[in-house]
Symmetry: D2
């Protein structure tokens, strides 16, 4: 039976704290696509198909034709940044897209100007932007961000709004009492509690207004009890955290494959070289820590050493990120995987990924924006685990171990869509293709 | 509801045409494991777990504890080869395992002596062994192989027998009329039709006696209508073909992952260097052709260019195998993958696999042997598509496109086991972990 | 004492049979440099320094300031091709240079139009161009090419001319009697002997007119006794063959380094993927053979297995070139080197070169053109072994083993320049920096 | 004219502070070679040839046949360590050599027992050995080490002794006043000045006794004015520092090659993974600093950015060493080199070296030991720059820039030998092979 899902009428506002490499690549890309210059490659909502029914039914519609999503033409962009550059200038500086591609949509990009950021330099030491809001307490900041959202909505006559954090990675910190309930959090805002990160203020403002929120960075943001509580209160979906791109994407593809075959693993060494602003921020050990924690968990969770002690009990996993300017946004990763097979014999796999960081991240911003808007219209609220597919550190129900295996995440996403649209779930059993396979029949 | 499955009582004979690198590594390994010297890493039947019930049930038994399989201790080995070396000598020459490991089980290995091969040099020009059966017609050969099987069974007092082809790759040829029905095939045997390959004779002999058969090489063997017909007649399971190891294993892990994210692909170049006897046989273009066809299909089938023309319509896929003696059995592969993302921007992934060919193949021989024996006891016959997981060119029902995605293959295998054992199938939907996710509830 | 060297007055014509990727990249590059848009990176004549005197003298002039070479501004370009495209069109099709860079010098490039080629399809089967000279005998062809050269010289008012073969690789063939003396060769021209390759006709025409000739492809051209004889007769320098770029360049850098340390080598496997017209021509086995022979000799000559049997006696060297369209001109090579050290322990070196073929070749065209013109003015004639530095298969005096070690080649080149300019040769002894190093002093 | 060189009569003692992976691999290797089990691959003194005269003379004797060196059979080993393990036990623990190879020479190895170390934990925090000398002042230590040397010499009846530092890398520190003259240094010994490193004490003791000294680690040891002064006083050769193996070896091979061709370089990123004791010591940032400084200088010195600003002015060079236990002594390095060519077009070279650290270092210990002994007998004293070939940070005359290009280092080494033996130096000019190359002749 199909769920009740509201139509995607009218315009959809996509607001992003952080108009840097990822956000500008996302914005320029959507504009380029709607103008017919390019294809939204890498976006599962736009390019992906979904199988319905039996293999032999040959029913494989595009996801966007199967599920009622907002159209690219209906998106309106906005955001905040600590630098005042408009999106045209920011895109040029980011050096992700070819210059001619940016020039072709210059007027549209120039028109998107960042609002002043809710910022606290303690959370990102390597940034020196000054396009920031003055404030006494974090409570004021939250109010200003809510004002910004409402103004944006009115000015642009958008029907619905979603927010995706595309800001820099904040320093590592752990959830404290101030994050543990909505009441404590709101008190903390009023007390200007230094443990409330800027990203949390944006998330709070969004959720308070019923605006779905997704977090593309590894920092603690909506994954604190206080904001989960608020999400349920205002019946708003949330999803976090950290866009799954590049090396971690590869890890969550390869690790399940090796484990599927019961191959052992002695070590996995991952190094990265990148030279963009993100890399510069992560050159600070406190900010790197946040990223490291997000990247490290993945492997252990997939391989379950406690269940497979002979295979993964001695796994040594190490990750390095190196700021290396010649690479710019073209992050390169090198992975060395020490595996062992039959009788313990050793083998090595080396993966060298000449990647483009923001090119991989931009379509995720799009998909998350469209899907959290869709979830809201489908009446879903709180943590959307079915969006784990896009995230390095998926937020889950308390006590539930996150699923990092990208193939299980994909089935979860697809079966969720099938379920909501009233289609049969797929199990890949398929014995029915083989009449008489059981000789007793 | 659980299926009726006969117990795995008594000994299981595993017969292999071809006692080369793979077969001897398999045999030495099982012996080494039963003596407690090593672990059967890479064997899913021995080391793999299977999840039952909900994620929070924490029910993850070992597969061998869940499904009634033959025990390693109950396996008896036998085989044929065109060289007369016993398994000890053959294992030493193969240079796969460390010498000390072979020495530790020398008496057991020496005791396994190949029977004379059913052989025709036209199918493998690079071999010059003379330990072969004399024959007038292929019909005689088939009879002799059946005699061999029966003698083996009696001498070793084994309850059940399975056969796994571990012989060299035969030259490329396509199914002809003589392969199209059992009647034509049997006539061909009597006419000594040159289009009937030696491997088919082994398969025929096995199936005639109700002995389950699996094919580890890429040659046409049991995947011809004649032998599928025979398999149904004698209610015997078959599975083919070509052990999925090394580079192709990686391909069926990576390709689904990239496609999951709707990333485009412009080219995939694969090269291999290896220096063992298998490599020497494949240095002959006719034999390489067989392997190439088996390796090439994989990618197209996973990526479905007809469904995703923007992503995979221009894919250029090339595979090379190079005989390079310094590598011996340590086949090394190098893959270059040209992908593109958001707006068509190009990226490259390079995978360098320092692999050990026979180390990866040996546990597959074990799993296939145990599973086709299990299938027979579960009353299944004909093509066992759920064993696709282990094979580069899975045999399927006529008209059914093979599934190469290793993750779908894994789910199919696991859900087949769950189904046969009367457990719930798994869909990874998991919305029930999130009470109140629908705000209407 | 300094040699007598004529001044580089007036214009220098550079004529190239073959206006494809390399030649157009060379032409566009020189024009771009003279207009101040770019730097002639990779050109030793333009960017390289040469040390004079003692290390502590700090005298390191640019080579072009030390030796009287033609100036880039004084070069006039011309050539022949089997396709009628002007250099602008050919450069665009070659896809080597960014489009904007080509557009900036469009008029100059359009003005360079190929003359009709001296061509014989038997030597390059994969080409189908029709912009070719009609002829009865090869003698006619030679006359026509000589006419072309003179017309070019007059029309462009150039003082001196040099010729560099930048045409496709011709099929493999070995020197026969017709190539063994000038008399036999000239008779062959008149007899239209099919063993005289088109490239030889260009070389003959050039040398006959005293025009220095260099060969950038691996085909037999000026390295036959007939043309060496002619070169001496007309007192003209020649240099060949096959521009040393990419993988072979790396090989002649690495191999001497490993040998310097007495490290052993068991195997070297080289593979290449490329997708330009050169790759397409080399996809024909006859043409590949020519290239393979040129690439293979390098290693053996450097490592001297006969002298170092323990280190290189069992060396297995294999080279593959694969046509792979996604790469275009960005040839990528992958080398695996199996070395061994102390007590025979094995190690591996893997080199992955993301190269740009024509970018590496273009400055070699420039340097060879300038240096053979210089050699002519310095009164040198015949084989110029000191230009080995630029070539995969250096032409040497009969009976003299070619030197492939790039560092010895470099010293030879530099000491030749020092010698011609009357400077001290450099031996790197340098004991004189250490006064009192001998305690007897 | 040949120099006066004393014969290599009698036994040669090789004493090493630090009997770890390198030293034990060196000792076991020499023993294995003298017993005829293995070949001294990687040792230039044993396996290398040297060309004498003209290319066509074909005179290429082995170096050991050309120059009077000590014979392997005449070497007697000894050393110190902070752990009491004899060389057999230490070799087993180091896991460099195959166990069977060690067993074959067990008695000889067991007989070599370390003397108590001159040690100060402040210089190597990650070591916890207790097999150390008690001392009041560093002066006492020096006396004890001198006693050790003399006792060793008498007990083993050795004619001559040399010392090679194979101890752990000490922490980074810079030369201070106490190191600036022999007088200050000897006062510092008496004052127990904490800035005098243990390695300096060994060097002082050796030089005081006229024992040649080489330093295989990157720490400041004999490259301080005080010890250079002492070396001249006692007419003793010294050479330092840091064995040039693995990644740096490759760097000094590749960089000169790329520069030879005037190719530009934007960045070089080097990372290493290793899991032996050396790696564990270098995991401490203070000790890593010493190594980093030694490894970093190489590239700049070879490329001379000040001379080639267009090519190397913006070079970004970064080196990482990562402790990664699965690798053990098989250090693996990965280098990414960002180069640019003609008109600035970018290319990348990636080098992946599956290396064995101690296997590369052991023959260097041998060569340095033999050559410093030879130098002493040839009457040379002080800094031996001609041994730069073996060292990452060659010690040079004050004010003289070290030469890192391995090919220039090799010529320097070879021409030094030729010079000492009264042979012609080689310049690679070779115009004389081409009679009549000058047409004026
Ligand atoms: N593949 C990827 O690119 C990828 C993958 C996973 C996660 N991420 C994360 O996405 C985020 C964006 O990446 P990017 O490459 O665009 O980085 P970027 O540095 O180019 O952009 C981040 C922008 O956020 C701004 N910013 C920082 N704090 C802010 C605040 N409090 N309010 C408003 N703006 C703020 C910065 O000024 C900057 O312009 C980073 O956290 C990164 O770690 C990126
Ligand atoms: N990873 C892998 O090793 C792998 C993967 C996929 C498929 N395979 C296939 O498995 C097979 C075995 O591989 P291997 O490495 O052991 O090769 P191998 O050459 O070491 O062994 C094959 C043996 O088969 C014997 N043989 C050939 N024809 C025969 C016949 N008609 N009857 C009896 N014996 C015969 C040969 O003499 C040889 O000893 C090959 O076909 C190979 O292509 C191997
Ligand atoms: N790095 C390098 O690019 C490199 C290195 C070594 C050698 N080479 C050699 O340089 C040559 C040119 O390489 P490219 O990449 O420019 O190839 P290309 O195919 O782009 O250009 C060669 C041109 O020569 C023309 N041609 C062929 N035969 C001719 C003839 N008889 N007369 C006149 N024109 C003729 C072809 O039509 C073509 O346009 C090839 O032989 C190649 O093997 C190139
Ligand atoms: N390729 C190479 O292996 C390589 C290359 C360049 C330099 N090096 C240097 O060579 C040295 C030895 O390397 P290794 O791999 O054998 O390391 P290792 O850790 O195995 O051995 C070093 C030994 O020195 C001992 N030691 C430390 N301080 C000492 C002291 N004051 N007196 C006596 N013994 C002392 C330690 O206990 C240890 O046993 C290291 O400094 C390393 O950095 C090695
Ligand atoms: Na690193
Ligand atoms: Na290849």
């Amino acid at each position: 039976m199909k769920h009740q899902i509201k139509d995607a009428n009218g315009k959809l506002g996509v607001l992003m704290p952080g108009l840097g490499a990822v956000a500008t690549t996302f914005i320029a890309g959507v504009l380029s696509v709607t103008k017919g210059f390019s294809k939204p490659i890498g976006s599962v909502t736009q390019m992906g198909h979904i199988r319905l029914g039996k293999r032999t039914d040959n029913k494989n519609p595009l996801i966007k034709d199967f599920v009622p999503l907002a159209k690219l033409e209906d998106i309106v962009f906005g955001g905040w940044d600590v630098y005042a550059d408009n999106v045209y200038t920011a895109a040029v500086k980011a050096e992700v897209l070819d210059r001619f591609q940016i020039e072709a949509i210059k007027p549209e990009l120039e028109a998107i100007v960042p609002m002043k950021a809710a910022f606290d330099k303690n959370f990102v030491k390597n940034l020196d932007g000054t396009h920031v809001k003055d404030f006494k307490t974090r409570y004021d900041l939250a109010q200003m961000v809510m004002e910004d959202i409402k103004t944006f909505q009115e000015k642009n006559k958008v029907e619905r709004v979603v927010m995706v954090w595309c800001g820099s990675t904040e320093i590592y910190h752990q959830a404290a009492d101030v994050h543990n309930s909505l009441a404590a959090f709101e008190q903390g805002l009023r007390d200007n509690d230094a443990r409330i990160a800027p990203s949390m203020i944006y998330a709070y403002a969004a959720l308070k207004l019923g605006v779905p929120f997704a977090n593309g960075a590894p920092n603690l943001t909506c994954d604190i009890p206080a904001l989960v509580e608020l999400a349920h209160q205002t019946k708003t979906p949330i999803a976090g955290k950290d866009f799954k791109t590049g090396q971690t994407l590869m890890k969550t593809i390869l690790a399940p494959g090796l484990q599927a075959r019961a191959l052992g693993m002695e070590g996995w060494f991952s190094t990265n070289i990148l030279g963009n602003r993100d890399g510069w921020v992560l050159d600070d050990p406190d900010n790197f820590k946040t990223k490291e924690v997000s990247k490290l968990g993945v492997l252990e969770d997939i391989l379950s050493p406690e269940e497979y002690p002979d295979l993964y009990g001695d796994l040594y996993h190490k990750i390095r990120i190196n700021y290396y300017p010649p690479r710019k946004d073209n992050k390169e990763s090198w992975d060395n995987i020490d595996i062992f097979g039959w009788l313990g014999y050793k083998m090595q796999i080396k993966v060298n990924f000449l990647c483009r960081d923001s090119i991989l991240a931009a379509p995720i911003v799009l998909d998350l924006a469209l899907f959290i808007d869709f979830a809201k219209r489908a009446g879903m609220s709180g943590i959307q685990e079915w969006l784990s597919f896009y995230l390095k550190s998926p937020q889950t129900a308390p006590g539930l171990r996150p699923e990092h295996d990208i193939f299980k995440q994909l089935i979860k996403l697809q079966n969720t869509l099938r379920y909501l649209m009233g289609e049969d779930l797929i199990t890949h059993l398929g014995l029915d293709y083989y009449e008489g396979i059981f000789d007793t029949e």
